[in-house]
Symmetry: C2
Subunit: 137 residues, 2 copies
DNA sequence: ACGAATTCTAGAATAATTCTAATCTGAGAA
DNA sequence: TTCTCAGATTAGAATTATTCTAGAATTCGT
C-alpha cells in the first residue's frame, strides 16, 4: 500500500493551507486540490473556475488565487494582455510561451545560463530576473 | 542651421508612416510625433491619450497603437496585469521593471549575456527571448 | 455551543480593450 | 481639380477581466 491515497492528499493540501496561515475552507480546499495535487500548473481564473464548476463563485476563485499568491503558494504571471496566469511553481524558473495556443511551459532555472546582467539603477535592488522564451505563432 | 527643426521632424514622422504602409492621417501623425519625435518611450493607451487629449478618441489611440505594432513601429509588452505597454524601441533589448512605479526602462541587448538556452520543444521555433529584471517594490 | 473574525457569494461596479455602424477623408484616377 | 471609394476615424455600446460591496455563512478558539 502506498501513502499517497486521496485521504493523505487531502491532508497534505489542508496542511499546506494551514501552514500558509489560510483557513482551510471547503472552497479553498477544492481549489488547492486542483492546483497542487498533481504536477506544476499554469491556470487562469477562468480555467480554474471551469474545473471547479458548481461548487463556488468566480469571485471566490479570484479571492483564493490572490490569497494564495500573497501567501507565496502561487505566482502571478502577465505575458498576455487581458488575462493573468497563476503558476503553482513558485521556485525560480523561466517559461516557454506558445504564442499559437497561449500556453505556458516551465523552463528549469539551470536551462538558462545568464553570464552577465546590468547593474541595477541607482538605489534599486533586483528582486527577480524573468526570462520568457516565445515560440513562434 | 540644423536639419532637425519641427518641419523636418514632421516630415520624418510622415515618411515613417508612409514607409510602413500607413496613411499619414492627422490623428496618426499627432500620435506618431508624440511617440517617435524624441527618445525611446514606453506608453500606455491611456497615457498617450492623455498627451494627445482633445484631438482624437481613445478608440483611435488603440487602433493606432495596434496598427503601428502590426507594422513593426511598436512592440507591445505585458508585464503588469490589466494594462499593456507599447514600446517605441523595436530593436531586440530587455527591460528593467520598477515594481514601485510601474515604469519600464530599456536594458541594452548586450548588457544581458545568455550563455545557454534550452532547446525549443519539438516542432517549435524560438521567436524571441525576453528578459525582465524586476526591481524590488 | 458561543461569539468574533474571517470567508463566501451574487451581483453591481469598474477598468481595459474591442466592436459597431455611421461618417469622413486621403490619395489616386479622370 | 474634382471625383471616388477603400480604408480610416469616431463615439459610444459592448465585452471581458477583475474588483468591490454588503449581507449570509463558516471557521475556530474558547
Ligand atoms: Mn487605469
Ligand atoms: Mn476570456
Ligand atoms: Zn511556471
Ligand atoms: Zn523598451
Amino acid at each position: 500500500m502506498r501513502s499517497s491515497g486521496s485521504l493523505s492528499r487531502d491532508t497534505n493540501v489542508l496542511n499546506r493551507l494551514r501552514a500558509a496561515g489560510l483557513r482551510p475552507t471547503r472552497q479553498r480546499l477544492a481549489l488547492a486540490k486542483l492546483l497542487f495535487a498533481h504536477g506544476p500548473r499554469h491556470v487562469t481564473a477562468e480555467s480554474l473556475f471551469n474545473e471547479a464548476r458548481g461548487n463556488l463563485s468566480l469571485a471566490t476563485v479570484y479571492n483564493a488565487l490572490h490569497d494564495f499568491t500573497e501567501k507565496g503558494l502561487l505566482r502571478e504571471i502577465s505575458i498576455k494582455s487581458g488575462q493573468s496566469y497563476f503558476d503553482t511553481n513558485t521556485t525560480a524558473h523561466h517559461h516557454f510561451y506558445f504564442e499559437k495556443t497561449g500556453k505556458l511551459q516551465d523552463v528549469p532555472l539551470e536551462s538558462v545560463q545568464i553570464s552577465s546582467l546590468p547593474e541595477a539603477p541607482m538605489g534599486e535592488t533586483i528582486s527577480r530576473v524573468e526570462v520568457v522564451i516565445r515560440l513562434a505563432r
